[in-house]
């Protein structure tokens, strides 16, 4: 397929662009295979470059003049980064052509036609982000414990399509057992290690067991789980679904672990159905954004719609669940297995949040990149399917799971403004690149697909770009002062703050960056003075030693 077939109009003059916080721009629209460009061709007026993939929905409104004559109209471009542009176009035919063109281009689904495959990074790449967080590097310490090993049973993606080639499993379990257990888990997602805490307690994740109406049983699966429970202890399984959902799934061949087969494990429910079922979460997000961009909303409506969209509760519930699981691991040293239905949404969300609580490394920039790499990209979160829709449209399998994760991290940042190396604009950058980007990191649904399409060879990784020193500096929290311990967030409803820098940024001018700049000034001054004082102390000491030595 050629882009040329899809582009019905590639240049259009006299278009007026309106969008929040900016003056209207009068200019020319150009359409390329990947971008909509609006240029005023004037000095000092920035051009708008909009990736087609960022466009979530296109609405066309025609100007109806008196007597039923139609003359021009405007296009509403609603973007996945939550912006809404309005393009005023005088000519009705051109309006339709442009709308159709954008419709065509924004609904392309073949990843190899996306911009990352065409984008050439201008600067030399210092380190390749795709190889930065290898499983060997990430789990060095864990492997050194002699209790865990890297298994390549999935080398050809035959055991599990959504897992990477290599996973970490108990050392005493051989590959045959893994392969056998995979047949008992949804999508072949047999239990693998997600995180090992410094007290030795571990967090595992998997797909749901295929218990089914026939009460299937799988010895290899039980063997894997039992191998990590010490004598005299019990492990904990958290099923992230309601009992209703579990029995529904059981009828379809899924279900939860049967307590009698897993006698060494306590099995709990912690329902996060809305996250695991995608559709409700997308609806919740859409309602949230709709409420956030409503300029005329009254205070009462604002609160009740915020409540009824359910998003704040999803954030709170995710944090709460993560806290409970982190408590098992940190305070009781119990191994925990987390799963939902497929184990690609709520499961990954919870495993990631538990690590933010427990692991100080995940509170650094590289640590969060590594976490996203391990849990989300390698862990098989189907990014491509999930980001086909932003809040302004609804396509099957789309869901803002990753956005929910970032929102939860934002809550941590609010409560622990010093413990994180990154500041919230880092999270916003991740949010934007997950939906539309020149970088290949978030393309495709799994490691398997990315390998097959050559993402790793033919595109640039987001990390490669982010980790350039001048880029990295942007994301550093001026107040960073690492906490080497576990952090427990408050999950009380009054502690929830709306992520205004993201959801309200096109409604209310955000001033967070200015504030952070002031923090930086204060901190820098303190540090500079401290350094100066230390320097002078040394100088004084030298002089004094000289003086007193002569004195003798």
């Amino acid at each position: 397929m050629e882009f040329i077939e899809l582009i019905l109009i590639n240049k259009l003059d006299g278009v007026i662009l309106r969008y929040p916080h900016h003056d209207n721009v009068d200019g020319t629209v150009c359409i390329t295979g990947h971008h909509l460009i609006l240029s005023s061709r004037k000095e000092g007026v920035r051009e708008l470059w909009l990736l087609h993939r960022n466009i979530d929905s296109i609405e066309k409104k025609e100007n109806k003049l008196s007597g039923g004559v139609v003359q021009g109209g405007f296009l509403y471009l609603k973007c996945k980064d939550l912006r809404i542009f309005q393009l005023d176009i005088n000519n009705t035919t051109e309006l339709s052509l442009l709308a159709q063109t954008l419709e065509n281009l924004s609904s392309i689904q073949d990843p190899t036609l996306f911009y990352p495959f065409f984008y050439r990074h201008m600067h030399p790449i210092m380190e390749n982000g795709y190889t930065l967080y290898s499983i060997e590097g990430e789990f060095t310490k864990v492997i050194a414990t002699e209790e865990w090993r890297i298994s390549r049973v999935n080398q050809n993606y035959t055991v599990c399509q959504s897992y990477p080639k290599a996973v970490v499993v108990p050392k005493c379990i051989d590959d045959e057992t893994l392969a056998a257990a995979a047949t008992f888990r949804q999508g072949g997602r047999f239990p693998v290690l997600s995180y090992r805490h410094n007290n030795g307690a571990v967090l595992l994740r998997a797909g749901q067991p295929l218990y089914g109406p026939k009460h299937r049983r799988c010895r290899p699966d039980e063997q894997i789980l039992n191998s990590i429970v010490n004598v005299g202890m019990k492990g904990v399984i958290y099923d992230l679904r309601s009992s209703n959902m579990i029995s529904q799934q059981q009828n379809k061949g899924g279900g939860s672990e049967s307590p009698s087969n897993y006698s060494q494990w306590k099995i709990y429910n912690r329902p996060m159905d809305e996250v695991d079922n995608q559709q409700p979460l997308l609806e919740s997000f859409s309602k949230l954004i709709e409420t956030c961009i409503d300029r005329e909303i009254s205070c009462d409506k604002w609160l009740s719609r915020l409540e009824s969209c359910g998003w704040p509760e999803s954030v709170r519930n995710s944090l709460h669940t993560a806290c409970i699981i982190a408590q098992h691991i940190h305070q009781r040293s119990e191994p925990v297995l987390v799963h939902g239905t497929r184990g690609e949404d709520a499961t990954l969300l919870i495993c990631s949040l538990v690590q933010i609580i427990l692991n100080p490394d995940s509170r650094t920039i590289r640590g969060l990149q590594a976490l996203i790499d391990r849990e989300w990209l390698q862990g098989g979160h189907p990014f491509q399917s999930r980001v086909t829709s932003g809040p302004y449209s609804s396509r099957p399998r789309a869901a803002p799971t990753f956005t929910l994760f970032l929102d939860c991290v934002r809550q941590f940042l609010e409560q622990f403004p010093c413990s994180f190396e990154y500041r919230q604009c880092f999270l916003i950058t991740l949010f934007e690149h997950a939906y539309a980007s020149q970088f290949g990191s978030f393309l495709c649904d799994s490691d398997r697909e990315r390998s097959a399409l050559g993402v790793y060879d033919q595109t640039t990784s987001l990390w490669s770009w982010m980790n350039q020193p001048e880029e990295l500096a942007v994301y550093i929290n001026p107040l960073y002062d690492p906490t080497h311990d576990v952090i427990w967030p408050s999950v009380a409803p009054m502690s929830y703050v709306i992520w205004e820098e993201l959801y309200l940024r096109w409604l209310v001018k955000q001033r967070t960056e200015e504030k952070e700049e002031l923090y930086r000034v204060i901190r820098t001054r303190e540090q500079a003075l401290r350094a100066q004082a230390q320097q002078l102390r040394r100088e004084l000491n030298d002089l004094a030693q000289q003086y007193y030595a002569q004195d003798k």
Binding site: W302, P417, T483, E514, L536, Q545, Y547
Partner: protein, 697 residues
């Protein structure tokens, strides 16, 4: 762990006995500072007696019983007069260039004969005759005639009054003239707005009682506007619901958000801010506005001060905000005693009108922190003291009440106390250049937030675990300490350099002035006696007699309750920050010249003594972020004031700041807070004893 809960009796809002349980009789105490404490008392008779005692003590029958009349000395040893003369209405109007051609100071109310709830000095249009004033006053509810509240430099004015006694058709020529004169006092605009802050329906109802609103047909060139702020009863009930929402035992997101919504509190805050901003934009657009509600002392006070806060940067400073309260609230007769329930009276008179002013201010502060010199703690302090009655400032319902009670002679002023604690109220982000002019708030519903710091203040678990309100000031104070230390080091270095070169040249007593940029005074200010928290006289109630296990688990999450500390430890450099004529600046401090040229030439006898001297000041301060209790095991929660000991850099609580003393390793030897371990044994000797010194020659 030593855990004490201190509750000021005056802060108690309700005492409620709940149904008896197997463990004992529960008693629920709620305070005006949004704390609720739940006691279980084993014996029912004790519970009954405690209930009666608390009721009696928390609601004095007459004003003379109030705490302020028995409060004998402040922690800072301030004289009683301190603060009472900080603000006077004439100075404030002079700042606005009033009197001038258009506006004049009127003597007609000198002895409150025109209106007893107005200040004795009122400013009216220069051309208003006394007949007009008298006539207008008689046509306004409680004689509260239209007078000047604020004059902008563009000559647009905010005038305030109460509702006219218009009924269905009454009119008054003098009142109509009065408003016309106010309009004409602004030569730049041919009309003016009359804003009735009430919802239309309320104003209509008032007409039946012979009151009402201005008829545009009778008053020339006015544009009349209703606003829609609810009355005191609506606000009281709304706050009640808000408190119930915050008190839920295990709130879910739904129950919290729904409770917040159904309380209507944010809606009311928004209506006040909307009206204030409406007035502010009219004024900045050059149109005068005359504001009233019913009696013109609740809603009118709120919107007049908030509008001024948006227009005038001066009011966003600590002194300016206090002046604003002094003018719009205290002088113009907001009924603090009735609204805050200082004495037992009709509970229907109580209403959180002042709390709403602070809440609205907080909304602005949250949106534009650089615009304000003060911080959240400043607002909370004002709120607590408006109810505490420890200082005479907020006692009474109007200026006349306060004069009759001779408060300025008999009680302390809050402004005096606050002036000696300015450092605590300073906002580290303040930048006067950021908003040199008008401050435009964002008033979309999404931007009006629940003030967790006020209403959930005592729920220590819900606040950020690392508080910027502590961290940023700590960084600023640390930088100050380092600057003084650097100056000291520079001076020492220069001395040693001279000595070393002097050895060669045999030239004594040459002192090169090697200074490090700090222009701070070299003189040492004498330390103000860091008095202890004066709990003997403070008539506070301790609940320690109730044993910990008697308190049921339900109360546990409320047990992080904290005493309102009237803390000690002001020092004079803080007073010097006050840019008005502070009475304490004269006479009170003894200026001891500490570091003189001679002393500068004195150096410690040995290297180890020098090292000891240097190390009296900590280079690094312990981080404040993970501190949950002081070394004395006093819990330090979100709103506890945390201090750093300048000597060792540890974090201590207010009570553990044992002394404030000059340290030898600080150049401008200001009184530095020290913990018990670092405090010199004789705290009044800030200088290193002479036997440690040797002459440089």
């Amino acid at each position: 762990m030593r855990k004490e809960t201190w509750i000021l009796l005056m802060h108690i809002s309700t005492v409620e006995r709940l149904p008896i349980t197997t463990t004992g009789s529960p008693l629920l105490v709620r305070t005006k500072t949004f704390q609720s404490v739940f006691f279980v008392i084993p014996r029912e008779r004790d519970c009954h007696e405690m209930h009666q005692t608390l009721l009696r003590l928390s609601q004095p029958v007459n004003l003379e019983e109030l705490y302020c009349f028995h409060y004998k000395s402040t922690p800072d040893d301030l004289p009683k007069s301190a603060g009472w003369n900080f603000f006077d209405i004439q100075t404030e109007f002079q700042r606005m260039n009033v009197p001038n051609e258009q506006w004049t100071l009127c003597n007609a109310n000198r002895d409150y004969e025109l209106c007893d709830t107005y200040p004795s000095e009122i400013y009216v249009p220069a051309r208003a005759s006394s007949a007009v004033l008298l006539g207008s006053a008689s046509f306004r509810s409680r004689g509260r005639l239209p007078v000047l509240a604020y004059l902008h430099h563009n000559k647009a004015a905010i005038a305030r009054c109460s509702q006219p006694l218009s009924g269905f058709s009454a009119r008054c020529m003098e009142d109509e003239q009065m408003l016309d004169l106010i309009r004409r006092a602004n030569p730049n605009c041919g009309y003016m707005y009359v804003v009735d802050t009430r919802p239309r329906i309320n104003a209509m109802v008032n007409r039946a009682a012979g009151k009402g609103y201005e008829n545009e047909a009778f008053y020339e060139n006015i544009k009349f506007q209703f606003m829609g702020i609810g009355n005191i009863h609506v606000m009281r009930k709304s706050l009640q619901k808000l408190v119930e929402t915050c008190e839920q035992n295990s709130p879910t997101m739904s129950s919290f958000l729904n409770g917040l919504e159904s309380s209507g509190w944010l809606k009311h805050i928004k209506s006040i801010l909307d009206t204030s901003w409406w007035i502010a934009s009219a004024i900045s657009g050059g149109v005068s506005v005359c504001v009233h509600c019913s009696d013109g002392w609740d809603r009118t006070a709120q919107v007049c001060s908030l509008a001024a806060l948006c227009i005038e940067p001066h009011y966003r400073t600590i002194n300016g905000y206090q002046a604003l309260i002094e003018k719009d609230w205290l002088s113009f007769g907001h009924k603090f005693t009735a609204r805050c329930g200082h004495v037992a009276c009709d509970s229907r008179e109580r209403s959180p009108v002042f709390t709403q002013l602070l809440d609205c201010t907080w909304q602005l502060l949250r949106q534009a922190p650089e615009a304000f010199q003060f911080n959240e703690r400043f607002l909370l302090t004002l709120h607590d003291h408006a109810h505490a009655c420890q200082y005479g400032t907020f006692i009474g319902n109007c200026q006349k009440d306060r004069r009759d009670l001779r408060l300025s002679e008999r009680t302390f002023s809050l402004w005096g106390y606050m002036a000696s604690h300015l450092n605590e109220y300073k906002n580290p982000l303040y930048n006067p250049k950021a908003y040199p002019d008008i401050l435009k708030p964002d008033l979309s519903a999404q931007s009006i937030r629940f003030w967790r710091g006020m209403y959930c203040r005592h729920e220590s678990g819900v606040h950020p675990r690392e508080s910027l309100a502590d961290l940023l000031p700590a960084a600023v104070h640390h930088a100050t300490a380092l600057t003084h230390h650097i100056d000291y080091l520079a001076k020492r270095i220069s001395t040693f350099k001279n000595l070393l070169s002097g050895r060669k040249e045999r030239k004594d007593d040459t002192v090169v002035n090697y200074q490090n940029g700090s222009s701070d005074t070299v003189d040492i200010e004498t330390k103000m006696e860091a008095a202890e928290i004066d709990n003997k006289q403070s008539a506070m109630m301790s609940c320690t007699p109730i044993r910990a296990h008697d308190v049921t688990s339900k109360s546990k999450h409320r047990q992080h309750a904290r005493t309102l500390h009237y803390e000690s430890g002001g020092n004079l450099s803080e007073l010097e920050c006050a840019n008005h004529d502070h009475p304490l600046k004269e006479g009170a401090p003894k200026i001891i010249p500490l570091i003189t040229e001679k002393a500068d030439a004195m150096i410690p006898a040995t290297l180890s003594l020098l090292e000891a001297e240097i190390s009296t000041v900590a280079l690094d301060w312990k981080t404040i972020k993970n501190v949950t209790e002081c070394g004395c095991s006093t819990p330090l929660d979100h709103f506890s004031r945390k201090h750093h000991c300048w000597g060792c850099g540890r974090v201590v609580c207010t009570r553990c700041v044992a002394a404030r003393a000059a340290l030898p390793a600080l150049h401008a030897a200001r009184a530095a807070p020290l913990c018990a371990a670092c405090a010199p044994s004789t705290p009044s000797t800030p200088v290193t004893p002479p036997d440690l010194l040797t002459s440089a020659t």
